[in-house]
């Protein structure tokens, strides 16, 4: 009997999990795969910038001045004779870092907040979500500008401020996920089996809530990067000697009449990144079959 059993179980056909199915769907989506590849390349370049940048970041060459793209400087030089490619690579480090770290902050706060509110329910949920509602109604853009004005243009503060805005939506999504999952019959079945709440959350709720969270996280990164660039453009974000794509665009805009490449290339870098992230996010949304999370 036992030999027969073990035999039949090792013979079992391997099923295809939802994650696996989603992966297949995603890999068929050319735009999403393209976006993912570009993004990976950009991240890799950003990580390796100090070693692979063609020129040094700070060295100025005032004699050279602004030159259009050439074989020595692929993307030209700025008015101080600095290599634009190098500038964009260093700026990308900051822009991407802000995007990922601030989104990470939002992710941690939002998911925890939403999961607790959704699972505990009742009065605690009402209070927690009421707070989110109030914060939601606050004009955050203006508040961030205010913060940056008052406490100086500090990168750490920027991370926190942006993360603090974006966690709200994350919390809402997580809560509605947990709430709807809690009413699912398979969670009820788990309760009737006698599983502890912690196990139910870990094994039955979180794996099923993950899809929308992944999608929304992917779509939050570009909006965070936009916010950073927006502030930097106004001169309220990243400050020299550090640089970011927003700041480079702002400089480029000042001198675009004479040196349009100073505007075009940083702009292109930002736009391509945003494109990649959005395509990847849309692709993930389709692949994971997530509906109505944001638009």
């Amino acid at each position: 009997m036992s030999t027969e059993t073990s035999l039949s179980l090792t013979d079992a056909e391997q099923g295809s999990s939802l994650w696996h199915d989603a992966w297949i769907r995603l890999s068929k989506n050319k735009m999403a795969v393209g976006g993912g590849c570009i993004l990976l390349t950009f991240i890799l370049v950003a990580l390796l910038t100090p070693w692979i940048a063609p020129y040094s970041y700070e060295t100025q060459n005032l004699d050279l001045g602004a030159t259009p793209p050439s074989s020595a400087h692929w993307l030209g030089t700025d008015i101080f004779g600095r290599d634009v490619l190098t500038q964009i690579m260093y700026g990308g480090r900051v822009s991407l870092a802000v995007g990922f770290i601030a989104t990470g902050v939002a992710l941690i706060i939002g998911v925890t907040w939403g999961a607790v509110a959704g699972y505990v329910g009742g009065r605690i949920d009402a209070v927690m979500m009421r707070l989110v509602d109030i914060l939601y109604a606050l004009p955050f853009m203006i508040f961030i500008v205010l913060l940056m004005v008052i406490f100086g243009r500090n990168v750490l503060l920027l991370f926190l401020a942006i993360g603090a805005v974006e966690w709200l939506t994350m919390a809402r999504i997580m809560r509605s996920q947990v709430q709807s999952l809690r009413q699912q019959e398979f969670v009820e079945a788990a309760v009737s089996l006698g599983l502890s709440p912690a196990t139910i959350i870990r094994r039955h709720v979180i794996p099923n809530a993950l899809g929308p969270i992944i999608v929304y996280t992917t779509l939050t990164i570009p909006s965070v990067m936009l916010l950073e660039a927006f502030l930097s453009f106004l001169g309220l974000g990243i400050q020299p000697p550090q640089t970011s794509w927003g700041l480079l665009i702002s400089y480029g805009a000042e001198t675009m009449e004479e040196y349009p490449w100073l505007l075009l290339f940083p702009g292109l870098a930002l736009t391509i990144t945003l494109f990649s992230l959005n395509f990847l996010g849309d692709g993930l949304r389709d692949a994971l079959d997530v509906r109505g999370s944001k638009d």
């Binding site: 179980l9 013979d11 999990s17 009737s192 099923n208």
Partner: protein
């Protein structure tokens, strides 16, 4: 001349994942002044063939591969979209399955009702309104003038279906296509709507094409029955021919699957496993002052080894009662004594011990299994949690469970979405049996399944119940199913138990008026006669 003559109709769907022929060379006729019924299970192509004729199958992915559908001499399939539109809603009207979603929630009943009149007959809004109110009255809507200015959400499912019927009939069509018009309704409402459709058909002399999965429903009203299986028409004939002299094996299988007969009542000696007294489960919705009294002062006993059937319409509180017994719904008041212990007082570990002894089987096998866990994981979870077996014997135990519920062992690593509805319900039954429970609450376990699958699952439940000596609370809205499986029956209405007794006694000699009306509503009187 036939009203509608369909000849060699073929429809297929072409998606990125491949092609699939939904309707294969189907031919049938609909006579004027007759009700023609198309019967089939899900995926039989019964709806698609009707939608295709009216150009209501979205294309792509749908494609009509061939055939003709002559309606009063004109081939519907050859008409332009514009010509077809002139026929839809004027000469051929439709009603659909789910009245809750088929009316536009953003428009008043009246606005939607006068639309076909204004469109096809060019009536003024004023004249159309007069006509609409007349018709609302005819389909049995009280105070039709007020209804005219109301929104759909203010009405129950049955009322909405009446509105849908009024809307379909408003232009005096020659053919009415009814796609499962009573499937989403309670049994008493279903009986009313069926009578309404039959009466209107007679009074107005129209042809009706009635699509259904339920042979019993069409038994009473159809003049002609067409049976479809997987896109192919397998048999057609008069109800008498179909019910008494079915030729095709599939038709015979369908007929055999109609729940019928009853359990040979084994005299069970009254030995209560569960005693419920004065149970109240009330809910307090946030924006309403009055609590919803889902279960209101219910007392009952369930004896060891019996199958207790709990019948009621939607909203009667039967599901909540079942969940309250298992402590899955918050009990407001009263006690549930299981084998001498009051469950309402238990928490934590003692409750967990009791959870092992009582399990639940849910209605929707699509929702009751975690989509991200394999069958193996789903079955292993209760086994390991309650230490039914150790890791070494886990594989063997799971394999035995699979055998018990009739699933091939080779499926063990598969995920729920890779199974059919019936197979999933088997997995769910396996999970419930894994803890070796004494008591099982089965909440409409066969309602979401096709009729042939339904018969199989019922058989499985009966066999497993006998084999494991299970006590079962079997909840259903379907009287025929209850009669087949239950030793005793309880009838629930608006949160209260209105009648209980041995199954044959309740079915044979119902005492309460509500029970009588429930029994009178069971479709298929013509069948049993």
């Amino acid at each position: 001349m036939s009203l509608l003559k369909v000849d060699n109709l073929s429809v297929s769907f072409h998606t990125r994942n491949g092609s699939h022929q939904a309707v294969k060379n189907v031919s049938f006729t609909v006579e004027p002044r007759e009700i023609t019924a198309i019967i089939g299970e899900s995926g039989s192509g019964k709806s698609v063939s009707c939608y295709a004729m009216l150009g209501l199958v979205p294309s792509p992915p749908g494609r009509i591969d061939g055939g003709s559908a002559l309606f009063e001499g004109a081939d519907l399939l050859a008409l332009s979209e514009r010509e077809l539109r002139a026929i839809r809603g004027r000469d051929i009207a439709m009603i659909f399955q789910d009245p809750m979603t088929c009316l536009n929630p953003f428009m008043t009943i009246g606005q939607q009702l006068i639309e076909p009149l204004r469109l096809h007959k060019g009536l003024t809004a004023k004249d159309a309104k007069v006509r609409a109110i007349e018709l609302l009255d005819e389909v049995g809507i009280r105070s039709p003038a007020d209804t005219f200015d109301s929104y759909p959400h203010e009405f129950s499912g049955g009322m909405r279906q009446r509105v849908m019927i009024a809307m379909a009939l408003i232009n005096e069509p020659k053919l009415l296509i009814a796609d499962e018009p009573t499937t989403a309704l309670d049994v008493t409402i279903q009986a009313q709507i069926l009578r309404l459709i039959a009466d209107l058909q007679k009074n107005r002399d129209i042809g009706v094409l009635f699509i259904s999965h339920d042979l019993a429903v069409v038994a009473d009203i159809a003049d002609q029955i067409i049976v479809m299986e997987q896109g192919v028409m397998v048999e057609h004939g008069s109800p008498d021919a179909i019910f008494n002299h079915a030729q095709h094996p599939y038709t015979q299988k369908l007929l055999a699957a109609i729940p019928s007969g009853h359990r040979t009542a084994e005299r069970i000696k009254p030995d209560p496993l569960i005693a419920v007294s004065h149970l109240r489960t009330w809910f307090y919705p946030s924006n309403v002052k009055e609590p919803v009294k889902a279960v209101d002062d219910v007392s009952l006993e369930i004896h060891r080894g019996e199958v207790l059937g709990l019948v009621g319409e939607s909203g009667s509180g039967k599901s909540t009662l079942g969940r309250s017994l298992l402590r899955l719904a918050p009990i407001t008041e009263g006690s549930v004594v299981f084998d001498g212990i009051d469950l309402t007082q238990l928490e934590g570990n003692p409750l967990k011990t009791f959870r092992r002894r009582m399990q639940m089987i849910f209605q929707d096998p699509f929702a009751s299994l975690n989509p991200r866990m394999t069958v193996y994981d789903t079955l292993a979870e209760p086994l390991l949690l309650h230490k039914i077996c150790d890791r070494k014997s886990l594989d063997a135990t799971i394999a035995t469970l699979m055998d018990d519920v009739g699933l091939a062992r080779a499926f063990i690593r598969k995920y729920p979405h890779e199974f059919s509805g019936g197979q999933r319900q088997r997995i769910a039954i396996g999970r419930a049996l894994a803890t070796k429970p004494e008591f099982i609450v089965a909440d409409e376990p066969v309602s979401a399944l096709d009729v042939t699958i339904q018969a199989q699952i019922l058989e499985l439940l009966i066999a497993l119940g006998r084999e494991h000596g299970l006590t079962m609370l079997f909840i259903s809205h379907d009287m025929a199913v209850i009669r087949q499986i239950a030793d005793r029956v309880m009838v629930m209405y608006q949160g209260k138990l209105v009648e209980q007794g041995d199954t044959e006694e309740v079915f044979g000699h119902p005492r309460e008026a509500y029970t009588q009306s429930l029994l009178a509503s069971i479709p298929g009187a013509a069948l049993s006669a």
